[in-house]
């Protein structure tokens, strides 16, 4: 993340997204696969670390081995095998949704995980319960804890979508998108930019 200044000289926090050209590696059609989609691949992968089956798959599209393979629908675009999809898809000023995998936080309590407020305050005779979940429900009826009760557990490392981020800049020669605000995930992780 960094920040840039707009025309009103406001300081806007922004994230840089490096968009390597995505190669179309397969076209899913209604006849052969039962649905329509376009498979694209991106990222770099060493030749020696690629299984032969995948090598064949990529060479069909005339591409070098890629790291990440995903399927999308491009309803308004006519794409053929081996075509590339890059930042030119986006325009400055338009709004996009960004999907990523959030940073893993490990086992966390309910205060961090679900935004509980903890039990009690500094006074009223309580102690050791500042970040506790409190009651899990009624007693002898139903004499069980309902499913889906919010408790502590593994937090983060899940798919998160952030909606309505503005594209501040498109730099085609560097394959770069500048998006306002923060996006989910650690530095260097993959994200999906949805139009």
């Amino acid at each position: 993340m960094t920040s840039i200044f707009d025309e009103d000289r406001k300081n806007i926090a922004c994230t840089l997204i490096y968009v390597e050209p995505n190669v179309v590696t397969q076209l899913r059609t209604k006849e052969t696969d039962g649905y329509r989609a376009t498979q694209v691949a991106t990222g770099t992968r060493k030749e020696k670390n690629t299984p032969n089956a995948l090598k064949g798959h990529f060479s069909k599209a005339g591409s070098s081995p890629k790291h990440k393979v995903l399927e999308f629908e491009f309803p308004n675009h006519e794409l053929n095998l081996g075509d590339t999809v890059d930042v030119s898809l986006f325009e400055e000023g338009e709004y996009v949704d960004i999907v990523g995998t959030s940073k893993g936080k490990g086992f966390q309590g309910v205060v961090k995980r679900h935004g509980f407020h903890g039990v009690g305050g500094q006074t009223h005779g309580q102690h050791n319960r500042g970040r506790a979940p409190g009651s899990l429900g009624p007693g002898s009826t139903p004499s069980r804890v309902f499913k889906g009760m919010k408790m502590g557990g593994r937090t983060g490392n899940s798919r998160v979508k952030v909606q309505n981020l503005q594209i501040l800049k498109v730099i085609p020669e560097k394959n770069l998108l500048v998006v306002s605000g923060a996006v989910p995930g650690a530095k260097g992780s993959y994200v999906i930019v949805e139009k």
């Binding site: 960094t2 200044f5 560097k174």
Partner: protein, 115 residues
């Protein structure tokens, strides 16, 4: 990635920022827009700290205005800043001068750096 961040920042980077650090007395010329008109306001005070790096670097200026302490944080490369003037270099022993907030009157003074 680091290079790409620098590339985006380069557009806004200023090359005429004077050298200054915490303890210096600064006069900051800030452009202010009032409706259609634009004018320059001065903010004169002691620099408490410099923070961050690159395009996101900021500095804090503290002054006493009408008996009340006022602090403003400016991004160094902000286009709103017309000019930063270093009026006086201070002799201080730390990079963050937050202890000045608790000092009043004569105790809040900083000695001038004599080379």
């Amino acid at each position: 990635m680091e290079e790409l961040i620098k590339l985006v920042q380069a557009e806004y980077a200023k090359d005429d920022v004077p050298q200054f650090k915490a303890g210096d007395t600064l006069n900051v010329y800030v452009k202010i827009r009032e409706g259609e008109k634009e004018r320059v306001q001065q903010f004169k005070g002691t620099c408490l700290q410099r923070r961050g790096s690159g395009a996101t670097e900021t500095f804090t200026v503290r002054k006493i205005s009408g008996g009340i302490g006022v602090e403003r944080i400016f991004p160094i490369h902000s286009p709103s800043i017309e000019q930063i003037e270093v009026l006086r270099q201070g002799k201080v022993r730390r990079a963050r001068l937050f202890y000045l907030r608790d000092k009043i009157g004569k105790k809040a003074r900083i000695k001038e750096l004599r080379k």
